[in-house]
């Protein structure tokens, strides 16, 4: 079941649609589907480690209360149906406060038949304990009580902190953290605690079970923040805190928070001034995670999922260790898995060309370079051709990954304005900054608050994307909200739409049937550059996905040449000069959008 924070797409990916068709056909033929449960969103009915048996709906229309299974974003969701409408339905995990996004009814592949827990099979149809039973469901009054308690706790925390900037706080587990703050920062320091939108706030965010708070403090005496971080870490490990963090906690200064507001997500700011305090795993220095993230994005893209990482990891290392690792947080496992693949000489990937190593070197990052060299050494042992097309897939993927790294230098002129801010970031943040610069702050702030319905709560960036092509969600909340402000009639679609990349949103507006195609890295650049370079662009051609990639390559190629000449990328892109062009492109997009609508 899903753990992502991004909303479900309006359209089912072609692979998911095919999987849905296949499973429905098999279920219709009487062959049940067996699925492992990987989250606790349906506890106590289903908990992690359970196995479920799914059967066909047998041509009946599922009724509210029934537990249904549907496929989206490459995963199976097992949630309870809470409302049926004509063509869509609303589902919700039993432990969730808010429902998932509406899905088309045709996405449902089947219904829950049985559960296997610790070897014991419970057939719901053969017992009185049907999934619809109130004994299994979490009762509505409990749900309401939980929500009410949350709001009470929020108020209590806000009052207890007595900080002028604190406008929202998180769950009870964070009360004790907040209580540690006074005295550990300077007396006159101000601080705010932000949390990203989540089910705890009653927002619609399927599959999310954690809350990552962000502590923003005013400039304090040097050394105070690391000390605070140590204190909090110690408090966590010593059990002073009532409850452990589920997610992670970020600590940063107001100055960096302003950069966040201007340029995007936390992950772009891998500075030592950003402190990351996690729950089950603790790390100091988000920059390390960031570097690892850059590296293993290649790995993740290739394997496509954590499941792939698990599988590959199991074949690389001793199994007893796996049993331990499998219990660790996915992020940690991901890094470990990547490292294992890099360091293990038995790794069998090849065909990684020397030119790509050069590109890594050009990035001026020692870890990237050394990892690339290790990777190359491993890849050389690979036999060709690969029946699974692995080599060609990896080459394409690595190319995209490298271009992503190179592209991040677009952000550099921004960051060079402040030497303290590191230079790694994503183009989406750059794009987002344009949006922010194009509109007055009041408009997007108001729009955000309207969207999230919780004044003061910022929707922070999600964790590192699982694949490079999933980078688009970085821009989703702001981009969608801003676009929604400009196009109120599309606001709902924009916000719902997973393809939040700015260009992809426009493209999807033209061609909804292809929206999933646009959820891909580079769509923003490709679209805007295409519009810039081709005033008489034919939307049919423009939105051809294969052409987008080609266009992206064309746009990037001169930059790659310049990159080789100048490792520091200084003055590579003059943002101020480009800004009017992008605004012009934006207007062009709007015109195209309006033309397409009229047509």
């Amino acid at each position: 079941m899903n753990q992502d924070s991004t909303p479900l797409p309006l359209e089912q990916h072609s692979i998911d649609a095919a999987v849905t068709r296949i499973i429905r056909a098999k279920l219709g033929a009487g062959i049940p589907l067996t699925l492992p449960i990987v989250s606790n969103s349906m506890a106590p009915l289903l908990v992690r480690g359970d196995t479920i048996e799914v059967v066909s709906l047998e041509s009946h229309t599922p009724a509210p209360g029934e537990v249904v299974i549907f496929r989206a974003r490459g995963k199976f969701f097992v949630h309870r149906l809470i409302r049926m409408e004509t063509d869509t339905c609303l589902t919700r995990g039993d432990t969730r406060a808010a429902p998932d996004y509406p899905i088309p009814t045709v996405w449902i592949v089947g219904t829950l038949r049985a559960r296997i827990r610790n070897g014991e099979r419970l057939d719901f149809r053969a017992t009185l304990l049907s999934p619809e039973s109130p004994r299994i469901q979490q009762r509505e009054w409990i749900r309401r009580l939980r929500l009410r308690s949350f709001h009470l706790l929020t108020d209590t925390v806000v009052r207890a902190c007595n900080a002028p900037l604190i406008r929202s706080c998180a769950l009870q587990r964070y009360r004790s953290i907040v209580a540690l703050l006074p005295g550990r920062l300077d007396n006159d320091a101000r601080y705010s605690l932000y949390i990203k939108g989540s089910v705890a706030l009653g927002e619609i965010e399927p599959g999310v079970s954690d809350i990552d708070p962000l502590l923003v403090h005013s400039d304090v005496e040097p050394g105070r923040v690391p000390r605070l971080h140590r204190d909090l870490s110690a408090a966590l490990s010593s059990g002073i805190l009532h409850r452990r963090l589920i997610g992670g906690m970020f600590i940063c200064s107001e100055r960096f928070f302003r950069f966040y507001l201007s340029y995007g997500g936390i992950r772009a700011l891998g500075s030592r001034e950003w402190m990351h305090l996690a729950g089950p795993e603790r790390r100091t220095g988000a920059h390390r995670v960031q570097e690892a993230g850059l590296l293993h994005s290649l790995f993740r893209e290739f394997f496509g999922s954590y499941a792939g990482a698990y599988k590959e990891l199991c074949s690389f290392v001793a199994k007893p260790r796996i049993s331990v690792w499998l219990r660790l947080e996915r992020r940690l496992l991901d890094v470990v898995a990547f490292a294992a693949c890099l360091s293990n000489p038995a790794s069998a990937w090849s065909d990684y060309t020397a030119s790509r190593i050069e590109k890594f070197n050009a990035f001026g990052n020692e870890r990237l370079s050394s990892a690339a060299v290790s990777l190359q050494a491993n890849l050389r042992q690979r036999r060709t051709p690969s029946p699974q097309g692995a080599v060609s897939s990896f080459v394409a993927t690595s190319t995209a990954a490298i271009e992503a790294v190179l592209e991040s230098s677009f952000c550099r002129p921004f960051f060079e304005a402040s030497p303290q801010v590191p230079q790694n970031g994503w183009s989406h943040l750059w794009a987002e900054s344009f949006l922010l610069r194009a509109l007055p702050q009041e408009s997007w702030q108001a729009e955000l608050e309207k969207h999230f319905e919780t004044p003061g709560c910022m929707w922070l960036s999600p964790p590192l994307p699982k694949r490079l092509s999933d980078c688009a969600p970085f821009i989703r909340p702001l981009g969608a909200a801003l676009l929604g402000a400009q196009f109120p009639e599309h606001r709902l679609d924009l916000i719902r739409c997973e393809c939040a990349d700015y260009g992809a949103l426009f493209a999807a507006s033209f061609r909804p049937s292809l929206s999933s195609q646009f959820v891909r890295f580079g769509a923003y650049f490709a679209l805007l550059e295409s519009v810039l370079l081709e005033p008489n662009v034919d939307p049919e051609k423009l939105f051809d996905s294969s052409r987008i990639d080609q266009k992206l390559r064309e746009v990037l190629s001169p930059n790659l040449e310049r990159l080789k000449e100048n490792k520091n990328f200084g003055g590579w892109v003059e943002i101020e000069k480009l800004a009017p062009l992008f605004l012009q492109a934006q207007e062009r997009c709007i015109l195209l959008l309006q033309t397409a609508e009229q047509a």
Partner: protein, 93 residues
């Protein structure tokens, strides 16, 4: 003489050919696999009940520079499918 293995698609495997790729679904564990390029071709050949030797030789004609490795690669790929439950393996009588 060593009996040649015979591969078949079990009832628990569902698949669909989208033209550019093959989508495989295992009803045993919900596993999904996407086969592209050469892998998709091998699957189609398996569905057409071509023997592995013929599949390998067909590929070798197309990739003469890697002909020596193709047989092993194809066998490895098919064994992967068997291991993941997408294919079942028997022995010809």
């Amino acid at each position: 003489m060593k009996p040649s293995p015979v591969f078949s698609i079990p009832l628990s495997t569902g698949w669909e050919d989208t033209g550019s790729e093959i989508v495989l679904v295992s009803m045993k564990n919900g596993g999904v696999s996407i086969l592209t390029d050469v892998a998709a071709r091998i699957w189609r050949a398996l569905v057409a009940e071509k023997p592995l030797a013929q599949i390998s030789s067909d590929l070798a004609l197309e990739f003469p520079e890697s002909a020596a490795a193709i047989t092993a690669d194809v066998e490895e790929f098919v064994n992967d499918l068997v291991r993941e439950g997408f294919l079942s393996c028997g022995v010809a009588a």
